[in-house]
Amino acid sequence: MARINGEEINAENALISEYLENTGYSPERVAVMVNGEILPKTEYAKTRISDNDEIEVVGFVGGG
């Protein structure tokens, strides 16, 4: 199990890009932290979610 935004989620082996698409996040409007480090956007389609990964997907909304 990986922990994504504080919840145990069974998403092992999914690519980050697949996870974002399946959960409705726009890749242009997120920052993804994997085990405390930012994941560059160029890695979304290359990085697979592993067991015990701590992932935080921060979705940005407009206004300022």
Binding site: R29, A31, V61, G62
Partner: protein, 212 residues
């Protein structure tokens, strides 16, 4: 009225057992975007004695900004970079405001903000927010980023919080209310979010200053 820096620093430090001004004076803080968030963040930091503020925006002051931004009617039509410089000089003339009148993107943001200890992300556009956060955190610079996301509308003030995502990344807001939802933006709610961002910056500077 002429005020000396000594008088100003004493006033900032009044009622504090701790030398706030001296620590804030050494800080270099970036403010990316000078709208509702950025103009309020920059002024709050200047009032606490920020030594250097790197302020960037490409826009000019419009009437539709007055509902939430620090500018007044006399600034209409003025570049936001120049207007904020003028306002800060009237609050804290000892604060060095370095301005960049340009659109900030992934190509220029590391060069502009790479020398900052902290950058407050204060853009209006969600995609621009993501670009700045991703680029600065992916760079090898040690800059910390305090972002604002979710302060539109007129919902509960207490829904706006500061979350620590990592030791370099903090996000303030309710994370949800999007200006695209059509409930507008109000000064009170935008200022709460700006206050959270400025407050996190001050906290980092005053608590961890010796690490820089």
């Amino acid at each position: 009225m002429e005020i000396t820096e000594e008088e100003f620093s004493r006033a900032v430090n009044s009622r504090s057992k701790f030398p706030i001004y001296e620590k804030m004076k050494k800080a270099v803080i970036g403010v990316a975007g000078l709208g509702g968030l950025g103009s309020n963040i920059a002024c709050a930091l200047a009032r606490s004695g920020a030594g250097t503020i790197i302020a960037a925006d490409f826009d000019t002051v419009e009437l539709s900004n007055i509902n939430r931004q620090m500018y007044t009617l006399k600034h209409l039509g003025m570049k936001k970079t120049l207007a904020i410089k003028e306002i800060i000089s009237e609050i804290n003339p000892f604060c060095n405001v370095i301005t960049y009148d340009m659109f900030i993107d992934e190509k220029n943001c590391t060069e502009i903000f790479g020398g900052c200890q902290i950058v407050c992300e204060a853009f209006d556009n969600a995609q621009s927010k993501a670009v700045l956060v991703n680029t600065l955190l992916s760079s090898n610079k040690k800059v910390k980023v305090i972002s604002g996301s979710g302060m539109a509308g007129f919902g509960r003030a207490n829904d706006i919080t500061t979350r620590t995502i990592s030791d370099r990344f903090f996000i303030c807001g309710d994370m949800k209310t999007d200006v695209a939802d059509g409930e507008g933006l109000t000064a009170s709610r935008v200022m709460i979010c700006a206050g959270h961002q400025a407050s996190k910056a001050v906290e980092i500077i005053l608590k961890n200053h010796d690490k820089y």
